[in-house]
Symmetry: C2
Subunit: 182 residues, 2 copies
């Protein structure tokens, strides 16, 4: 059964309104009611599809993340398979910083603290990095994967950029880290 026409219309309105609010105000300052009102929709309609803010942010991010995941699995080196692990990790860092830069507010909305690690996306990044660490012969790839992903925490990224650090410098530092560790 396909989605009903009015439902599809409202979903589009909700996502558009949420993206607007997230990026202008920051995810923490947006309530469910705000989104409903901005979308011209009742609270019940909002909750029908999205149980909380995180779900909306995840939906907004889905497309962008999926694209990167696709490239990691089947794209050209060094992002995709074929290049040595250290170079693949460096390319991954570069891509992730760019993704953070463009969608930091959304990522922050989707991953409130602890919940960060339980999203499907984190699991994907984690597996990818662990495989790279294994290929490079790391001692404890399982733990190292989490450690390598830690500097990409959205809270940290926002803190650094708000202190005036340009994303390019962050990416450069991470690339050096990749070169030294794998």
């Amino acid at each position: 059964m396909p989605e009903r026409a009015d439902a599809a219309r409202n979903r589009a309105k909700i996502l558009a309104a949420a993206e607007e609010l997230f990026t202008t105000r920051g995810a923490a300052e947006v309530t469910m009611e705000d989104i409903a009102k901005a979308a011209g929709v009742g609270r019940g309609t909002l909750y029908r599809r999205y149980p909380d803010r995180a779900a909306i942010a995840v939906a907004l991010l889905d497309e962008h993340e999926r694209r990167l995941q696709e490239v990691l699995l089947r794209g050209d080196p060094p992002l995709g398979p074929g290049a040595p692990p250290a170079e693949r990790l460096a390319a991954f860092y570069t891509a992730m910083v760019e993704l953070l830069e463009r969608h930091a507010a959304l990522v922050l909305g989707a991953e409130v603290g602890h919940s960060r690690f339980t999203t499907g996306a984190y699991g994907f990044w984690r597996t990818h990095v662990r495989v790279l660490a294994e290929a490079a012969g790391a001692a404890d790839p399982d733990v190292l994967a989490d450690v390598l992903l830690a500097p990409l925490a959205p809270e940290l990224f926002l803190h650094q950029t708000s202190r005036g650090v340009p994303p390019a410098r962050i990416a450069a530092t991470l690339r050096q880290l990749a070169a030294r560790l794998l």
Copy 2:
């Protein structure tokens, strides 16, 4: 003007009750009202000193953190000054993992997401690590300091241990990281 006797008594009761609640239930599941009731004081009394949960957790952590900070500044090598940067960083990682292990619930209560970076403690750790990075001739010590501290995020630590990873393995991985980077 010194603190009044009844005020001091209540402060002790509040801190004791809060520590008990934080460690048994986890910081997220504790409300201000819970703490007030457990301490046998009114809400107003609680808010007089501590505007929110974070302030209480910070007060509880203060002593432990201060002790480590003291050792970093004036203790024996390798934790204190004198040893090469890589070894000092490795020792710092070991000490921090131990601190997390003992007080993870408190740290989590004190540093809810973004607020982590605005506490005085984070600033101290950051300065310490930046100095080590500088001494080791790192390209961008300012950014590297944040990157090196990222794996110590309490949310990550709790996620790893709840997945069954023993703290010793985390510490070991971090020590290797220190050896390779500085």
